[in-house]
Symmetry: C2
Subunit: 168 residues, 2 copies
DNA sequence: CAAAGTGAGTTCCAAAATGGAACTCATAAG
DNA sequence: CTTATGAGTTCCATTTTGGAACTCACTTTG
């Protein structure tokens, strides 16, 4: 086993990390979403090695989160755009940005704010419960086994049982 | 420059990725949050190399997202718990889980659902605008420069200008 | 009392991933 | 004819990783 087989783990977080769990993929997606869509522009903006950028773009296309669109032929030149699947990762990026703004910058040093286009307000996104509308804090959430059954490790099984105990 | 200096980039996502941007940190935090709090238990659950786990736990403590608490001395043995800063990363993990459940599993194969404790419903978290309450989709958000000024790359400056143009 | 088990690491090596610079190839611009 | 642009690829030295074995301080089992 060379890289860990995260994509075969029975866990949505593990499989998601198989797609975006490295230092560059998230930043490439950010650039592409902001409109920095070409190889050289991304390379200059991030300072990433061309070798790694080339390989990352290819796996992102493989994973279906980016699409590669020629804007000219002879010589072939390309833009990269997020697919729907890739754009949907925007929520993950937003959550990272909100966390980074809160914990890694002083208030007056925050480099980029997020504005909700339809209401015009600056926002630090909160996750809300789509059922009751309340703010959803991580500590308000309990994990419950899904329909996919649980062929989990002994450790996880034990941990999940602890959640369903009274004191959980 | 050995590792890329993401933590010095003027970008909240980059700095956040400096903290959690690898294949293991998110999963370790998941385990610890679920109640798998000890070295050997995490190692068995994830199948991570002991060498890497040891190093990751140390940097997570350095970054202030985990705390290491002795539950016995002689020999010293430890639990790891999320700090407030670490627990706050839960939103990022929730967003990853929601994305993974949606895009990487068939409906009937989803291994773990999330239940909102106070309302009892299963949820796939949505990000909501705290100002107007509407669901916040990534495409509804425009980036605007924050108080920290922008000593950005030419690429990013150009991209941000494009956002504020009519067609943006 | 000896042997085996538990828990949290550390040490070592081979294999894989990375950064960075130089190179390629096609075409356009001066 | 020289330089520039854009999207890569090739090569090498350095880092990071996986994995197995080892350590050290007890505790439990027989």
């Amino acid at each position: 086993m060379t890289r860990p087989q995260l994509d075969e783990m029975n866990c949505a977080i593990a499989r998601t990390l198989d797609v975006i769990g490295d230092r560059w993929t998230g930043l490439i997606l950010r650039d592409v979403s902001l409109g920095i869509t070409r190889f050289d522009a991304i390379q200059r903006d991030l300072g990433i090695s061309r070798r790694v950028l080339s390989e990352r773009l290819a796996t992102m296309v493989d994973h279906g989160i980016l699409q590669r669109v020629a804007y000219q032929t002879a010589p072939a030149r390309y833009d990269y755009f997020p697919t729907e699947k890739g754009a949907d990762l925007g929520l993950v990026l937003l959550a990272m940005q909100a966390w980074g703004n809160r914990w890694l910058f002083d208030d007056e040093e925050v480099p980029l704010l997020l504005r909700h286009a339809s209401c015009g307000n600056e926002v630090s996104p909160q996750i809300a419960c789509p059922e009751c509308g309340e703010e959803l804090r991580p500590q308000d959430i309990v994990p419950v086994p899904g329909p996919g059954g649980v062929d989990d490790s002994a450790e996880l099984t034990a941990a999940l049982e602890r959640w369903s105990q009274p004191g959980g």
